[in-house]
């Protein structure tokens, strides 16, 4: 029963290209990119309790790895994206290992520092990355939007499936235990060192995957991908959709991305609006707006029965 809405959404998503062509399809693809990022980020932040500001940088790692390999070595795009994900996973391992002993604000600062150094590196190493001009990258499927859309959707479904599989397993339980009380979990025999690294590697890999995908959709990678404001966007989407719900975070990304395009005329105001929205969410409904709406809708639907606590995961 609980899966029904998710399947409904999937059907809607599959039918989407029938109704919308070119422009909105492209918007949806970008939305899928952000959905990949924010669902994997909310896995890290909401489930494991590690607030990392390096997620956008991991996406840039994936994007640049794939872009450079495809351009220089002429390898197939799919292989490039996979290698990008591997590179991001490697960076994730590194950062995870460096920050093993850190908590809360210290961890956030270190990841922020790493993200900024990486962005500076991308801007400065002109020979490799062409600095802030960015790299021109070949498009996937020669730019066929419908195929790209289904690829993105496939990636998202796969990501969510894998992440939920992890959460449903014993490992998910360990991760959540670590979120609530890391020392407590450790005394109960959870290998916290191992699982922290594990969480970092998995989520970074998905960020890298998203980055590689994005590179070959847009056809341009630039250091802007690793900007702090990009990270802010991911954060806004995750919180809006519900930090502790992967599906919610993914939906939040798609909704906000759609909203962004819809509000194109207010271009410069929109991030301010998002900021206000997120502040409001955090203040009044920290579990996210979408789960709350879902709950309300549910309560109206089954007026008699108890409202189901939705989106608790």
């Amino acid at each position: 029963m609980k899966r029904l809405p998710a399947f409904g959404l999937l059907v809607l998503a599959i039918l989407f290209p029938l109704f919308y062509k070119d422009y909105w399809l492209y918007v949806a693809v970008i939305g899928l990119y952000y959905a990949l990022l924010s669902s994997s980020w909310s896995m890290l932040a909401g489930q494991v309790g590690i607030i990392s500001f390096a997620h956008a940088a991991f996406a840039a790692v994936g994007a640049y790895t794939s872009a450079i390999l495809v351009i220089r070595l002429q390898i197939p795009i799919a292989v490039g994206i996979l290698l990008g994900a591997c590179a991001a996973a490697g960076f994730g391992y590194l950062i995870g290992a460096l920050t093993l002993r850190m908590r809360g604000p210290y961890l956030a600062l270190t990841t922020l520092g790493f993200a900024e150094i990486f962005r500076i590196f991308l801007t400065a190493e002109y020979d490799l990355t062409r600095g802030s001009y960015g790299l021109q990258v070949p498009l996937m499927f020669a730019g066929n939007k419908i195929l790209i859309y289904y690829t993105g959707l496939g990636l998202l479904v796969m990501t969510l499936w894998v992440l939920y599989l992890i959460l449903d397993s014993k490992i998910g339980l360990f991760l959540q235990a670590m979120r609530e009380d890391e020392d407590g979990a450790a005394t109960r025999g959870v290998n916290t060192v191992y699982y922290r690294l594990y969480a970092f590697v998995i989520t970074s890999a998905f960020a890298g995957l998203a980055g590689g995908f994005y590179a070959h959709v847009v056809g341009l990678v630039s250091p802007r991908m690793a900007l702090i404001s990009e990270m802010g966007l991911i954060l806004a989407m995750s919180i809006f959709g519900g930090l502790e719900s992967l599906l919610g975070a993914a939906l939040g990304a798609i909704v906000l991305q759609g909203l962004t395009e819809y509000l194109r005329t207010f271009e410069e105001w929109r991030l301010a609006v998002f900021g206000a929205l997120v502040l409001f969410t955090l203040r009044f409904s920290p579990e996210g707006i979408l789960p709350k709406l879902y709950e309300l809708a549910n309560a109206m639907f089954h007026r008699r029965s108890q409202p189901v606590k939705a989106g608790s995961r």
Partner: protein, 292 residues
């Protein structure tokens, strides 16, 4: 030395907030930006011109406004988290302050436009000390920053309120049991922290330029300084500021390629940050925090 003093001032706000509220204010750069704009508008406003007031008055006027701003922010967004005594206070406040920063920055963008503004300098001209020539704006910055730091020290170590702040910083429970209004102190610390940051922004706005993202590079520097000196330690912050100023100026000589050296100038600070966090997370002067 001049840059070091300014660095110290802007990092002190962050340090004070961390000491009392136990949170890193990720909206630090934006607080600085708010201060910069506030000073700019006050200094160019007609009231100041009409009355022929000196610009120092405009600078002084930013302080109560910023204090109030910080005070309100704490009451609105941070107080509930503290009251709820949530186990995940750390994460909540990171998210809130970070979002606040994004919000302020993107509010300033459409409101004031992305272009640079030159805030009027309090003292123009140059001063020659021996062979050294110092531009007036930098000198003003250093002098005012130094004065503010002295006032802050007097406040912290000679007044009742200052004592209260330090007590809460050391042990909130004990402070509360001795009749100190802890929530009030927290709001006050946030207000003072924002004012300090804002004055630093106003001073930096005279030297460099005022724009919506002016605070970002300085915020990163402030993070480095505070971590280096030890989170929440006032003396450590000042020492950290001078260390960073020295490292930055020597670091840029290290790389031969000038464009690359300039680009990596900020990276040195960040590297310093990560190395400190790895090997001595309590900083140079910080106390070792008991792991909760």
């Amino acid at each position: 030395m001049v840059i070091g003093t300014l660095y110290a001032l802007m990092a002190l706000g962050l340090s004070l907030i961390f000491g009392v509220l136990k949170l890193v204010n990720f909206a630090h750069g934006e607080s600085m930006m708010v201060g910069g704009y506030l000073y700019y508008f006050l200094a160019t406003s007609f009231i100041v011109h009409l009355l022929g007031l000196p610009l120092v008055v405009a600078l002084a006027a930013t302080v109560p406004v910023l204090f109030f701003f910080g005070f309100i922010l704490e009451q609105t967004f941070l107080r509930p988290a503290y009251n709820r005594q949530t186990a995940r206070y750390d994460e909540y406040v990171i998210l809130v302050t970070f979002t606040l920063g994004i919000f302020l920055q993107n509010l300033a963008l459409p409101l004031f436009g992305p272009y640079n503004r030159q805030a009027p300098a309090i003292f123009k001209g140059r001063i020659r000390i021996g062979d050294l020539i110092i531009a007036g704006d930098r000198l003003t910055g250093a002098v005012v920053a130094f004065a503010v730091i002295v006032v802050l020290f007097i406040f912290l170590y000679r007044t009742y309120w200052g004592k209260g702040l330090r007590a809460v910083s050391q042990n909130p429970e004990a402070a509360a049991s001795l009749g100190i209004n802890v929530p009030r102190m927290r709001s006050m610390a946030f207000g003072i922290g924002i004012s300090l940051t804002g004055i630093a922004g106003a001073l930096l706005g005279q030297i460099f330029l005022v724009n919506p993202v002016m605070g970002v590079p300085f915020a990163v520097k402030a993070f480095v300084i505070v971590v280096l000196g030890g989170m929440g330690s006032i003396k450590g912050t000042i020492v950290g500021a001078f260390i960073l100023a020295v490292v930055e100026s020597f670091g840029s000589i290290l790389l031969p390629d000038p464009t690359r050296a300039l680009a990596y100038k900020d990276a040195y600070g960040l590297l310093l940050l990560i190395v400190t966090l790895m090997f001595r997370p309590q900083g140079l002067f910080g106390e070792k925090v008991r792991r909760a």
